[in-house]
């Protein structure tokens, strides 16, 4: 469960202050499916970075699973990120010299999980995501869809409570894009909160809850009932 209270984020560009987020109040429950839409510069990426603890709000409070994470040190935020938050990026961000399996293993290495357990968990995930045959391939030997599936496997291997996806289908063709979305949506059953940032209305429309942003403010926050 996520809660943002009066969150502002201001960047200083030159001698000017630019408000990327203005007074955001937002509450996301467990296993909610949220899409954040808006034109570029509307603050949706900044919001996602704040949710992922990659950035700190200028003012306001961020509660994650009922704990205040706003003022944690860098080290503490890193461990929260490691244990509770998964990222899926538009450009996949796989480490090119590592194989698919090693990329999936990476968060567990950082967490210091023993090698046997790592191997078992990677194997299960690769199997589930239909990547078993590709485990020893490097990213440049994989198709875009396969790469994004590896990235999703990596994002979920630590069993996070929130999955943040920034334009997850942006670099994929339509068909593969849909496949990847279905895979992400399948994670909702496991109790993961799924946040998808997109400027594609068609993709955004798939989420039960749709948030539109403009100029750093939440323009609309609609709950679909269907």
């Amino acid at each position: 469960m996520i809660e943002l209270k009066n969150v502002c984020r201001t960047f200083i560009v030159g001698d000017q202050q630019v408000a990327a987020l203005r007074d955001i109040n937002l509450r996301l429950d467990a296993s909610e499916y949220v899409s954040i839409m808006g034109p570029s510069g509307s603050g949706k990426s900044t919001l996602l970075n704040l949710l992922g603890l990659l950035d700190r709000p200028t003012s306001g409070t961020y509660l994650l699973d009922d704990g205040n994470v706003t003022d944690l040190s860098d080290e503490q935020q890193a461990s929260v990120r490691r244990d509770k938050i998964g990222f899926v990026f538009q450009s996949f961000h796989l480490v090119p010299r590592l194989t698919a399996a090693q990329n999936v293993e990476l968060p567990m290495i950082l967490a210091g999980i023993p090698a046997e357990e790592r191997r078992a968990r990677v194997q299960v995930l690769m199997q589930n995501y239909g990547l078993a045959a590709r485990a020893d391939h490097r990213p440049d030997q994989l198709s875009g869809g396969q790469r994004q599936r590896v990235a999703i496997a990596r994002a979920t291997v630590m069993k996070p409570s929130v999955l943040l996806a920034d334009e997850p289908t942006g670099n994929l063709d339509r068909t593969t894009g849909w496949e990847v979305l279905k895979l992400l949506e399948g994670l909702l059953e496991q109790g993961i909160t799924l946040v998808v940032v997109t400027h594609d209305a068609e993709i955004g429309a798939r989420a039960k809850r749709q948030i539109h942003m403009l100029d750093g403010r939440i323009l609309s926050d609609e709950q679909q009932t269907k």
Binding site: D74, A78, H93, R97, P107, I109, L110, R154
Partner: protein, 402 residues
């Protein structure tokens, strides 16, 4: 993150860019190899000198006539006197010192040697039976000068090995007669081949009893008295006693010089050790250069791997871990570089050893440790800045590749 995983990840990223890694290792290993080879050479020179001194004899104290003084000219010299010579009795008197194990008086001169139709000038050394032990020589065939009365001028001689070859070839030498000046000597032994030591070629020497040499050269003075002290600790006592005895016997005049082999050796040792360290220090500069190179390449690596660092941060790597990863890379690079450098250095030293067999080339242990330590130290020290820079990257900007 576990230590082994850190190492594995770091070695993975090193293998990810082999050219960069190889070049850095090359720089490191050349630095280490330079230190190893140069100090090996210096140490070789030192040991060469030490060995030369040791082959002269151990615990040696040497008495020579005349006083080498830097404080001015003695009154005797103004009157045109030459220093009083050292007599055989002086030599025997020194044996009374309790610190002295044995002595060998030495007279050196040249004489014409003839055997049949062969005629040549040779260096003749007059001494006693103890010379063999004092000078660490060994006999090849026959026996050395017989012990006995120091004043007895027996007509026997011992030949250096090369002298024997030139005079007799493959013939039997022992028992034959040769002529030195106007006197006939019987060959009673041939020295084993010694090689050169401190400029004196014992292989080309003819050794006769000291009294015979005095008659041959028509003198009564000695060129040197070689004294062997009882032990290393009694060298100073032996020196002191020898000075006292000579002082008394020469009616209160200090007209001889007594030097110890140790003092000379220690001076050489100090000079050559200092030289080795200086040369090693110069070579260590190349290690520092390698360190700067590592820093430069690491900084480029941080710039190139900005996205990867951003990703690691997003996946939950704290700054500490990012730093550790870059340290591990630097440490791996420098330790593998050091090992390669050691192999290179030892190979180089042994090649030099092959070319100059008389030089005992081997790198001193302190230089090996210092070289590896400096390599590791500079590698890690120069990676502090790049590692900090990587750890402080803003994850959002890094993920965007900015």
């Amino acid at each position: 993150m576990k230590f082994s995983d850190t190492l594995q990840f770091a070695s993975g990223s090193l293998r990810g860019s082999p050219t960069r890694t190889l070049l850095m290792m090359l720089a490191m290993s050349i630095g280490v190899a330079a230190v190893v080879v140069l100090t090996a050479l210096g140490e070789g020179a030192r040991r060469y000198v030490v060995n030369q001194f040791a082959s002269l004899g151990t615990n040696l104290v040497i008495v020579l006539p005349g006083r080498t003084e830097t404080a001015g000219i003695g009154p005797g010299m103004l009157l045109g006197q030459i220093p009083r010579e050292i007599s055989l009795d002086d030599a025997e008197a020194i044996l009374h010192s309790r610190a002295v194990k044995r002595i060998a008086p030495l007279t050196v001169g040249s004489a014409t040697l003839s055997r049949g139709a062969l005629n040549r000038e040779v260096v003749v050394a007059g001494s006693t039976s103890d010379l063999l032990a004092v000078r660490h020589m060994s006999i090849g065939i026959g026996r050395f000068l017989p012990p006995g009365n120091i004043h007895e001028s027996a007509s026997v001689c011992v030949l250096g090995s090369q002298m024997k070859r030139e005079l007799f070839g493959n013939e039997q030498a022992v028992g034959q007669w040769i002529r030195l000046g106007d006197r006939r000597f019987r060959v009673i032994g041939v020295l084993a081949s010694q090689g050169e030591s401190m400029g004196m070629r014992t292989d080309e020497l003819v050794i006769v009893p000291v009294a015979s040499a005095h008659q041959l050269f028509n003198t009564s003075g000695l060129f040197r008295i070689l004294i062997e002290a009882k032990s290393r600790d009694s060298i100073e006592d032996a020196k002191h006693d020898a000075e006292q005895i000579m002082f008394q016997r020469h009616s209160g005049e200090k007209d001889v010089t007594v030097i110890t082999q140790d003092a000379v050796l220690a001076t050489f040792d100090r000079i050559l050790t200092a030289l080795t360290m200086a040369v090693g220090g110069i070579a260590a500069i190349s290690l520092a250069v390698a360190g700067v190179l590592i820093m430069n390449v690491m900084l480029i690596a941080v710039a190139q791997r900005v996205k990867e660092i951003g990703l690691l941060k997003a996946l939950g790597a704290p700054p500490k871990q990012i730093r550790a990863l870059f340290f591990a890379e630097a440490a791996l690079l420098s330790s593998i570089g050091s090992v390669a450098g050691l192999v290179l250095g030892y190979a180089g030293s042994s090649i030099i050893g092959q070319i100059y067999p008389s030089l005992p080339v081997s790198p001193p242990w302190w230089a090996v440790i210092a070289a590896c330590g400096t390599a590791l130290g500079t590698g890690i020290l120069f990676s502090v800045w790049p590692a900090r820079r990587a750890a402080q990257l803003d994850p959002v900007a890094a993920l965007a590749g900015r």
